[in-house]
Amino acid sequence: MIRIECPWCGPRSEAEFTCGGQSHIVRPADPAAVSDREWAQYLYQRDNPKGLHYERWRHTFGCRQWFNVARDTVTHEIRAVYRMTDLKPAPGGEGV
């Protein structure tokens, strides 16, 4: 069980949250212009890093808000929590 700091409610246990997978995936601006391969890449291909992973979480049992978490997949250490409207913190940057 990990503890996640909801940007609104503060630290809560993992059981209150839902993980929404990798974050910062951008939908192609013009879907008709991309190849099937690129579209499949967008829909299905996800990073599987050993280490720092940027992911979306939702405080399902609390304030019901989505936000971003930068988490180490080896140690489960949470390196940064930031709102959907915040910029992605750079690896090695402040807090990450």
Binding site: W8, G10, R12, S13, A15, E16, F61, G62, C63, R64
Partner: protein
């Protein structure tokens, strides 16, 4: 209507133990106010129109016969005397006219439980990982949490050790059963 009025979620049943009492609170009407919190100035605008600042995350605020509970960014639960929903909705709609907000009466979709007794914090701690020590959950605090596996709001309005619980109405019987099982030694 009299028939409907009597159809409260727990039909008057509750739990009475030496250290813990759970009773349905049928005296509250509930209104939900939702504003678009990401628009800059949205909460300030609400505050100016209402004449009071709605409570921030994790807290509640009492004002006349209204209690405001923070339930999400830009969203509050307002508890008022049961039966006054239409009047309060009308008054709030007039006050907030023109703002991008949604007001809904949700009394009948919810159950409110009064939880009292000297074991109340100990029993609450059996249902959630939130810290219920008075130092972190005292008068004026409210939390939305996973409690007994389901989403609930717990509030400490400040009347001694009385805790107020709000949940979806369909969870009422389950929650009462849970309190009964979880407080067998109280």
């Amino acid at each position: 209507m009299a028939k409907l009025d009597r159809a409260t979620p727990l039909a008057g049943t509750g739990l009475e133990r030496a250290g813990l009492c759970v009773a349905e609170n049928t005296g509250l009407g509930l209104i939900r106010l939702q504003a678009f919190h990401r628009r800059p100035g949205a909460v300030e605008e609400l505050t100016a129109r209402l004449g009071i600042e709605p409570p921030g995350p994790g807290s509640l605020r009492s004002e006349r016969d209204r209690q405001w509970f923070w339930s999400a960014p830009g969203e509050w639960l307002i508890a008022i005397p049961a039966g006054t929903e239409d009047a309060v909705l009308g008054a709030l709609r007039a006050q907030l006219d023109g703002l991008f907000v949604v007001l809904s009466a949700i009394t009948d979709s919810q159950v409110a439980l009064d939880i009292t007794g000297e074991a109340v914090r100990e029993v609450l701690a059996r249902g959630s990982t939130v810290d219920f020590h008075p130092a972190s959950f005292g008068a004026g605090n409210c939390v939305l949490t996973r409690f007994a596996g389901v989403p609930v709001m717990l509030a400490s309005p400040g009347r001694g050790e009385q805790i107020l619980l709000f949940a979806d109405r369909s969870l009422a019987r389950y929650l009462l059963d849970w309190f009964e099982a979880a407080s067998i030694d109280c």
